[in-house]
């Protein structure tokens, strides 16, 4: 009898984030690889929706969520509290041979194997970058989730090491399954990108780019300081484009941009639809991503897939993703970032070399490989 696999697609209920992106790509390829398995996509209720149609790839899957009469946040919390046997996900979904919890925390279940995907442990290493409620939630339930899991998927070798080092998970219980960039992220010539770039008022090959949520962990204040240093030593106008949803704790960043002598050259574009990102990446002189910490780092991977030179941090998982296809910098040092900006902007052959390396490097990461490795984990766990 084919196994019954239930996958938590809850993050897809919100605005598409990196984790939602992971689930969407993974789910569609899994069903393609093993159509004979019984797949069940479900969401732990965070909204009051009774039925949700979720677009995954080109398919539409109905996820049936039994209606709750409690507030959505309360029901979500109840699921995560250890209330077995009083409350378990099987009460609402029926039994499955395996449940894949795709977003750090697993909920109560009576039977079936349990797999948890861990994306990063920034809430633990950098608690100051997270709202206190999230921090307490994770610090309370995350260790329990790790202990209860039959197997853990880490999205990078660095995340695996962090789990081993800080949460003492035996290394044999963790499999690294890296993410990938969507196959729409490819190099784009000036003509193909022109329409999109014109909409945002930027010119092909003449700007520096950051893509990601605007939040403290992305180290945008230092990026700004580095940009100032760069512009002080480089007279030509090279705008700094910041693209991404507004996160949290950003007031001081916006204040600094307001006070900046290069204010007119710093462009904040807000959230960019996925379809327009390849043009933005392809048209940039360089992609700058001086994040303090990452679990994987999708934006640099997307950038190298588009043939864009990348400047990124030498810490956490980023070197693992970009390899030698990027200039690695010390994220705490603005002058290091500025010097890398200057080098890339003034050295055409360096950009060319990084572009070639990046395109080669990007081939290592593929959603099909991600899905296959995930299936291997399912098979191994089910025995």
């Amino acid at each position: 009898m084919p196994p019954r696999i239930a996958i938590d697609v809850s993050p897809l209920l919100d605005l598409t984030t990196g984790i939602g992106y992971y689930i969407a790509n993974l789910a569609s390829r899994l069903t393609g690889l093993k159509p004979e398995f019984q797949w069940n996509f479900f969401a732990v209720p965070r909204r009051t929706a009774k039925e949700i149609n979720v677009r995954i790839g080109t398919e539409e899957f109905k996820t049936v969520i039994k209606p709750w009469h409690l507030p959505a946040r309360v029901t979500s919390l109840l699921f995560q509290a250890p209330l077995r046997p009083f409350l378990a996900v099987e009460d609402f979904l029926g039994e499955s041979d395996l449940f894949h919890w795709t977003n750090f925390l697993c909920c109560s279940q009576r039977t079936g194997k349990k797999i948890v995907t861990v994306h990063d442990i920034s809430f633990f290493l950098f608690p100051e970058y997270h709202p206190w409620k999230r921090r307490i939630l994770f610090n309370t339930f995350f260790p329990r989730s790790l202990e209860q899991a039959d197997h853990i998927i880490a999205v990078s070798q660095n995340t695996k090491q962090d789990l081993v080092r800080y949460f003492h998970v035996p290394p044999g219980n963790i499999t690294v399954v890296p993410l990938a960039a969507d196959n729409t992220f490819t190099p784009m010539c000036r003509e193909a990108a022109a329409a999109t770039l014109m909409r945002y008022g930027i010119n092909y090959g003449q700007y520096l780019l950051y893509v990601g949520t605007l939040e403290p962990r992305k180290n945008l204040k230092r990026l700004l300081q580095a940009y100032h240093l760069f512009r002080d030593s480089h007279s030509e106008c090279v705008p700094m484009v910041l693209a991404g949803a507004n996160g949290w704790l950003n007031h001081s960043l916006f204040d600094e941009i307001d006070r900046s002598p290069w204010k007119s050259e710093i462009k904040i574009l807000g959230y960019i639809p996925k379809a327009e990102l390849p043009a933005l990446y392809a048209g940039a002189i360089a992609f700058v991503y001086p994040s303090i910490y990452e679990g994987f780092g999708l934006p640099p991977l997307e950038a190298i897939s588009c043939g864009t030179a990348v400047i990124t941090s030498n810490n956490s998982s980023l070197p693992e993703v970009v390899g030698d296809a990027a200039l690695l910098i010390e994220p705490e040092a603005s002058d290091d970032i500025a010097s890398a900006m200057l080098k890339i902007v003034t050295d055409v052959s360096l950009r060319g070399t990084l572009r070639q390396r990046g395109l080669e490097r990007a081939k290592i990461f593929d959603w099909r490989i991600t899905a296959e490795r995930t299936l291997d984990v399912y098979t191994k766990t089910l025995g």
Binding site: R165, Y166, P171
Partner: protein, 397 residues
């Protein structure tokens, strides 16, 4: 006096709260849970306030242990002072009427022997539990009073104890040799700990501690949990820290504990310009959380009984680097659950730490092995079962 759950009086003359005193608390708590009527006598001094409060929280009857006064830094034991103390304890035992007295001894002992004399006078059976038998047992030198006869007194009361207990084979050998005691009258009962407490730390507190000690992901935390005294080898630790940090400046040594050597050690640390790499954390209650944020547990001790700190580190799945002494060798399996080095060998201690600093996999494997070992051999139930057998032999044989 055949009771199914005998009344037990636990007694310690220690005036500082450390591993031995935590051991007493665990004993009192576990035997109370098993239905025994438990009483505890301990000195009413500042250093024991925390322990008294912990006992009260667990509804364990605790009373102050009378101590012979110390005058002008030297023990001045007149016959009158000693007799009064024995009499006080005699009265206390007569009132409490324990079936058995369990003396928990750390070293140097102070007045426990008065309690043993009182117990002998009343015919109450007693066991003496040595948490530490040091390499050389020296009594304070004096020509005054009864104290000059102290070695003979101790030999007398120890030999008349119903059973003697040591925490390691090495300590047993030493005790037998020094006091001329037959080895067959000494039992070895390993210390134990509550493993679950160290397996499930409060991660919110761990986050706060990481912030307090400024532990960014690139820093390696090497922790020592021990009193700051000569026994625990902190002077060697500073020498090792000098060598290790010269090639690994990201390493930070965290010293949890307090003691008489603190000022001296802080001065030496400052002179060696290691204030960024050595942190004196002071006495801490949140040991499970401190161990959870640690990468390597380090104990360069000179001598030991069977240190709780090592067992705690193993229960927290931390790799241990420690001196090859006494009970440490019985807890840690060299190369499997930790690395053991001859005490005082700075070079070897440095090599052991350096080999582990970059090797997360090896550290974690040893840490997991250590946890399994502690769960199997050093759990509370095992210790309590062994002690109950000893009590039964004393009371009913």
């Amino acid at each position: 006096m055949s009771r199914i759950a005998p009344k037990i009086l636990f007694l310690t003359d220690s005036t500082e709260h450390g591993g031995a005193e935590d051991h007493l608390r665990v004993l009192a708590s576990e035997f109370q849970k098993r239905g025994h009527d438990v009483h505890v006598l301990l000195p009413d001094v500042n250093g024991m306030t925390a322990l008294v409060s912990q006992l009260k929280q667990q509804c364990i009857k605790a009373a102050p242990l009378p101590l012979i006064p110390i005058h002008a830094g030297a023990i001045r034991q007149t016959r009158k002072a000693v007799s009064l103390n024995v009499l006080r304890l005699y009265r206390c035992f007569r009132k409490t009427k324990p079936d058995l007295i369990h003396f928990v001894m750390s070293w140097p002992t102070r007045d426990s022997w008065c309690g043993m004399v009182a117990a002998l006078l009343l015919g109450i059976p007693y066991v003496v539990d040595f948490q530490l038998v040091p390499p050389s047992i020296q009594c304070p030198a004096t020509t005054r009073g009864l104290l000059k006869h102290l070695p003979r007194i101790l030999r007398y009361v120890f030999n008349r104890a119903n059973r003697l207990i040591c925490v390691s084979e090495g300590n047993k050998e030493r005790l037998a040799a020094f006091f001329g005691i037959e080895k067959h009258s000494i039992d070895v009962v390993h210390n134990c700990i509550d493993c679950a407490r160290y397996q499930y730390p409060d991660f919110e507190k761990v986050c706060q501690l990481r912030k307090e000690f400024r532990l960014s992901p690139d820093r390696i935390a090497i922790t020592t949990v021990a009193r700051l005294n000569i026994q625990k080898g902190h002077r060697d630790l500073i020498e090792v820290a000098k060598s290790v940090t010269s090639t690994n400046p990201e390493v930070v040594f965290i010293l949890a504990g307090d003691g008489e050597l603190r000022r001296e050690l802080e001065l030496v640390t400052s002179e060696a310009e290691l204030t960024k790499n050595i942190i004196f954390a002071g006495y801490r209650n949140e040991i499970p959380e401190i161990l959870a944020m640690t990468d390597i547990f380090f104990l360069p001790t000179q001598f030991e009984g069977l240190p709780h700190a090592v067992l705690e580190a193993m229960a927290a799945a931390r790799c241990v680097v420690a001196s090859r002494v006494d009970g440490v060798c019985e807890a840690v399996t060299d190369g499997e659950t930790g690395i053991l080095v001859d005490p005082g060998n700075i070079n070897h201690l440095t090599e052991a730490l350096t080999s582990l600093i970059r090797n997360i996999q090896f550290r974690e494997e040893m840490g997991q092995s250590g946890r399994r070992r502690v769960q199997q051999f050093f759990g509370i139930d095992r210790m309590v079962v062994n002690l109950e057998r000893i009590y039964a032999r004393v009371l009913y044989a």
